[in-house]
Amino acid sequence: MECREPEPRHCRELADRISAYLDGELDAAGRRELEEHLGACLECACCVETLRRTIALCRWAAPQPIPEEFSRRLDALLERLVVAP
């Protein structure tokens, strides 16, 4: 599968819309146009896939557990807040 008609400018224009595509924010016509292009252009298809993976990685790598010591301090803060007149 290769770019049938390599048109870097066209690729660039479509590349700007890849995030919107991944977020489901393109209208039907925009989505159709991009998907048709992706079916024909391996480079752009690759760009979509790697960007999709990057987003997934960010999401899955994000959670950071609260340290126990800080958790205790939060409890103390809460105690002061809810008890204070």
């Binding site: 660039r12 924010e25 752009c44 896939e49 790697t50 990685l57 960010c58 994000a62 959670p63 950071q64």
Partner: protein, 210 residues
């Protein structure tokens, strides 16, 4: 808490009744909101501030301000959005002294121009993009992802965190940050491209010999 008349909620969710009861005087119920949001705020803080102590301050200050100003919450947005608005403001106040760094632009225009020719050199979807994600996840990779996020200028980082990690919509993020939805989309796309470039190198290196 003042016993002001509680406005009808324009946007109702699982927090609405809880917030109404807290404002009506059941202050101890604030504990439920803290349990619900402190872990997420802490994650947000760690990604925004990098430094552990700063992240802890961010959580404490956000929750303290939220509690203090809860009677002023008008239920015009979800409580979560209002809470993150406070968190973003706390962050901005802290970063103001580093404003110069925060205003730094990502050199992504060049990167975007390079994109088609760069990807043209790739014969196929790279190996790392075809492997099951679980195989790639490791402590080291997680650290690399965090490092890549921290290396984003603040104005891109906050958009990425709110959209891709906290999963606010484009419109919600725009309202939170007082940006246009168009601006949010542009910053998000640039942030993602930047991260992809940062992580691609790691993957290439990390997958050698596997």
């Amino acid at each position: 808490m003042k016993n002001n008349p509680i406005p009808a909620a324009a946007v109702a969710d699982e927090d609405t009744a809880l917030v109404q009861r807290i404002v009506a005087g059941e202050r101890e119920l604030f504990r439920v909101l803290v349990e619900r949001y402190a872990p997420r705020l802490y994650t947000f803080g760690r990604r925004m501030c990098r430094n552990e102590a700063d992240a802890e301050d961010l959580v404490q200050e956000t929750l303290f301000n939220a509690f203090r100003h809860l009677p002023e919450f008008r239920f015009e947005s979800r409580f979560k959005n209002w809470l993150y608005r406070i968190a973003v403001n706390v962050c901005r106040k802290r970063h103001r002294r580093l404003r110069q760094a925060a205003e730094e632009e990502l050199p992504l225009e060049d990167l975007e121009k390079r994109l088609p020719e760069e990807t043209a050199r790739t014969a196929a979807v790279p190996l790392w993009a075809r492997l099951p994600l679980e195989r790639l996840l490791s402590e080291e990779l997680i650290a690399q992802v965090h490092e890549a996020i921290w290396s984003l200028p603040e104005k891109y980082r906050v958009v990425l965190l709110l959209r891709d990690i906290e999963e606010f919509s484009t419109e919600e993020t725009a309202r939170l940050l007082r940006l246009t939805p168009g601006n949010v989309k542009v910053r998000l796309h640039r942030a993602r491209l930047y991260l992809r470039e940062r992580l691609k190198g790691y993957f290439r290196h990390g997958m050698q010999g596997t």
